[in-house]
Symmetry: none
């Protein structure tokens, strides 16, 4: 999609678009049955869409063979160049806890870890309870407010995870991390990757030293591992780019954070697909565009739990049925990346994509699956083309050229 083309042809109307992103949906065949998770799941609603009325394809987030992280793949799905607009982990993490980042903030993702005799013996400090984390963060917040004139803001995320934001002019993200990534190793020195980052590296180093002093009496959480030093990218909002009033429904912080970066309203919702559907229903009249994120397809894929991933896909199918009941002009179901249980991690395989709309040319596939979608009329196509497709099928795009 070319931004300049879109700008010249985009219009507004009241049609609803719902984009369901089932994280890590695509898979690989189970060796016994030869069927992927999606092919194994009973998905009558999705299959019926694939057979009657739906148009399909396989979407590629970054490029052939490239396994995307959730950040770049979501940006691609939202129609932003995922390589030009890299989002650092620190920014994702801060956005995910509703922290209002300012343009010059340097955001960092942290783990409380355990240091013994100079070695990191547990990178997650035994996954301390979130309440422990809150107690520690509160204490650090009282004692450690600034370093060399730079404001230090600490926030609990969950269990051992925290965010630290360094606020002040001239901070740079180009720093190495102090996480040795394996246990039994000494933490690393934080170093600048270019001369302009020297001051930021010194401040981060002093932060580590001060935290170590202050947490000397802690049994497990006595060392801060810092990763993903990042500043916020300047992305045009969904409103500016697509003239859409948009909202995000997501149970996990990172996905809410991603939606916020492109200017979506983030709706309060519960932990289940049912509560996500309820949230959609409740706010259905208030927005043009809904991004609804399903996390557990990915989680079980990452766990290597084929059967559990199949069950979540069946829940997803029921969710899609509920959404169809709200009669959106356009409903699309796809993924940000594949997470085959067999790989127990993200993969590079392209993502099944299905679009239902009165204006779709029905592909009449046999079912909704990786291998059926490759027969769809969108072919194998870049994920950045999805937003124009959603806009077109909701009749928001005028003719280009005379």
């Amino acid at each position: 999609m070319r931004e300049d083309i879109l700008k010249s042809i985009i219009t507004e109307n009241d049609e609803k678009i719902v984009l369901v992103i089932a994280d890590g949906l695509g898979g690989l065949p189970d060796s016994a049955t030869g069927r992927t998770e999606l092919e194994t799941a009973r998905t009558p609603v999705l299959d019926s869409l694939a057979r009657n009325g739906g148009a399909a394809g396989l979407s590629v987030a970054i490029g052939y063979g490239i396994t995307p992280g959730s950040g770049p793949s979501h940006l691609a799905l939202f129609g932003y160049d995922p390589v030009e607009n890299l989002i650092g982990r620190g920014v994702l993490e801060a956005s995910g806890i509703d922290f209002p980042l300012e343009p010059e903030d340097l955001a960092v993702r942290g783990n409380f870890a355990t240091l013994r005799d100079g070695l990191i013996t547990d990178r997650r400090a035994g996954r301390i309870p979130t309440e422990e984390n809150q107690r520690i963060v509160e204490r650090l917040g009282r004692e450690l407010k600034e370093i060399e004139g730079v404001q230090v803001i600490l926030r609990t995320v969950k269990e051992h995870r925290f965010v630290v934001v360094f606020r002040g002019p001239g901070l740079e993200a180009g720093l190495t991390e102090n996480d040795p990534e394996r246990e039994g190793q000494a933490p690393l020195e934080i170093k600048p990757l270019h001369p302009a980052a020297a001051r930021s590296a010194r401040i981060a180093g002093l932060f580590v030293d001060r935290v170590v002093e202050l947490l000397a009496s802690e049994k497990s959480a006595n060392y801060p591992l810092l990763r993903g030093f990042a500043r916020k990218p300047a992305l045009p909002s969904f409103r500016d780019r697509y003239r859409l009033k948009s909202a995000a429904i997501a149970t996990y912080p990172m996905y809410r954070g991603l939606a916020r970066l492109v200017g979506m309203d983030v709706l309060a919702t519960g932990d289940t697909l049912a509560s996500e559907a309820e949230t959609l229903k409740k706010h259905y009249r208030d927005y043009d565009f809904f991004y609804l994120h399903v996390k557990k397809t990915d989680s079980y894929g990452e766990d290597g739990n084929f059967a559990a991933k199949v069950r979540v896909i069946e829940e997803l199918d029921a969710l899609v049925g509920e959404i169809l009941g709200m009669k959106p002009a356009v409903l699309a179901v796809t993924a940000d990346h594949s997470t085959p249980a067999r790989l127990a991690g993200h993969s590079w395989h392209p993502n099944p994509f299905l679009l239902a709309s009165e204006w779709a040319l029905p592909d009449q596939l046999a079912a909704f699956s990786e291998r059926e979608c490759r027969r769809g009329s969108f072919g194998v196509f870049p994920a950045t083309e999805i937003m124009p497709l959603l806009l077109a099928h909701s009749r928001r795009l005028k003719k280009f050229g005379a």
Copy 2:
């Protein structure tokens, strides 16, 4: 594939990748049977891969409708931009005879031709035996060592073909050729295409004059037709770009030359597919990546010999069976361009591509053919994406972004 992305995610391991390039593999249907060469050949091994375990697509070297020469199409298969990195024929020819080109060398492909009464009567001087060529080149080498301070290096290629390398600072490749391309015509003047090439044009012209003088007594080989003035492109090596220790197995000089330009080791091998397989087996432990070139699919296509091309494809099938026996982590079979016997020349039709790997999502096609591959999950895709696919399926690529 974006080079900057790849650089940030590439890792090394010991998995083997074998890329078989069957030159000119794709074809057009025989008018009697309606089947292409590939559809006609008995290929049980390739068909079985297509049915079980293989993933497929159609690869496009340069662009829709563009018939590629072997140079650009191989560069695309190797993951280099084939348009940004044009390789002149002179460089290909020189590389193909193991001539160690220096960065400033101007390399030219030559034919000994026959000139009578100012007209070229035979552009190949009756395809003189290679020994004749060697005798002539030896003699010219003794008498013609330099022109205006530029060193002149002559080498025999085969039959009427030779390479001349002009060595000296400031030489430019932008020259017209003196080959009239049809017999019964006068040779053309070599002219500079831009002012900076004026000196090179003068030197090439003086070279022609001197050779004509020196070969005045020759019966047939008495005129040098010069084509493909070229300097070596500066390509990053396979080692630098992909962190792969790579080797080429090819029976024809040009393909060995292409492999050398991207830094592959070129392995000594015989003229048959069996000896190529033997070479692979012999060096299997020494490299991560093998490029194995099959020439005769193209040769018979160029000859318009449908039946002979079918037979070579059947030999290719047996070769693939042998390679599978070595159990590479990734085996891919494709072509650089199509050479339909019906066209008796290269064509623009996309190339069947088949990838076998434990981590491929099997496409379960009916067979390996042009028309089955279009149903594969890679779709119709740029040949430059093949290297990332091979790297991904051999588990050499880390996740991109968080």
